[in-house]
């Protein structure tokens, strides 16, 4: 086998290198990659939690007694933590989504802007999560 043929052979049989260890510790995602995977995770989380949010909307509008009961329930700290997680998911999905809309319009495609806007998305979602969290706490 010639060198060139051996090379094609090697590139054809690519090693599979995806396992939990590689995902967690070895594959270094670039910053915009983090924004991207968090956009997916937050979207999935919001969809899964939709039934809970609709239930809360339902209870909050059902009657004054149901509203006050819900208010008490939302005051428990595990519930507040869950709400905080959803607020973060909504904020991240919102800001990352706006970033993608600009990317679709070919705005902010160069590396420096892509990194800067990634930081802005991560920062803005945290700031707004803290703000809304402070309002409900």
């Amino acid at each position: 086998m010639s060198d060139a043929a051996a090379k094609t052979q090697a590139s054809r049989v690519r090693p599979k290198y995806l396992n939990l260890q590689a995902l967690l510790f070895e594959i270094r995602l670039p910053l915009p990659g983090w924004v991207s995977i968090l956009h997916r995770i937050s979207g999935a989380l919001l969809f899964v939690a939709l039934v809970w949010m609709l239930w809360m909307l339902d209870r909050s509008l059902a009657s004054e007694a149901a509203f006050n009961k819900l208010k008490h329930y939302a005051g428990l700290w595990p519930v507040k933590l869950a709400l905080l997680a959803l607020i973060w998911a909504y904020c991240h999905h919102f800001f990352a989504g706006i970033r993608y809309l600009f990317l679709d319009l070919d705005k902010g495609l160069d590396l420096a802007s892509a990194r800067l806007t990634s930081w802005l998305v991560l920062g803005a979602s945290l700031v707004f999560t803290v703000f809304f969290g402070w309002r409900i706490w």
Binding site: R40, G43, A44, L46, F47, L50, V51, L54, L57, D58, S60, L61, A62, S63, E64, F67, N68, Y90, F94, G97, I98, L101, D104, R135
Partner: protein
């Protein structure tokens, strides 16, 4: 009978565009909702109920949920296409997601116009 080509250009364009338009509708609703809630009186049951008995709020919330339904369908379908490789299981999950989303829309109408 002609063979229908189910892959190729433009087949995904409508969903791609719909996901972005519905995103904009939801973003605008979110900003308005936050401003209305934060600038109004502190929320108690009466304030909250009065907000949702106004016609514009009901219609806007319905528009939001309709946008959410389409947006979430495209997003969840993308996730299923990426991670679920078996066609049978994927189809079953997609049908479940569609039925769930339809039920949510029905439930929202019930909540808003009770």
């Amino acid at each position: 009978m002609t063979a229908r080509i189910v892959t190729g250009a433009h087949y995904g364009l409508r969903d791609w565009l719909a996901q972005r338009i519905t995103a904009l509708i939801m973003a605008i609703y979110s900003v308005i909702a936050v401003i209305v809630v934060l600038s109004g009186k502190p929320i108690n049951y009466a304030v909250w109920r009065d907000l949702f008995t106004q016609g514009w709020m009901r219609v806007a919330t319905l528009l939001f949920i309709a946008s959410l339904a389409w947006h979430a369908w495209v997003g969840v379908r993308d996730i299923l296409m990426d991670y679920i490789k078996g066609a049978g299981l994927r189809l079953a999950l997609e049908v479940m997601v569609l039925l769930t989303i339809a039920a949510y829309v029905g439930w929202t109408i019930q909540i808003l116009w009770r």
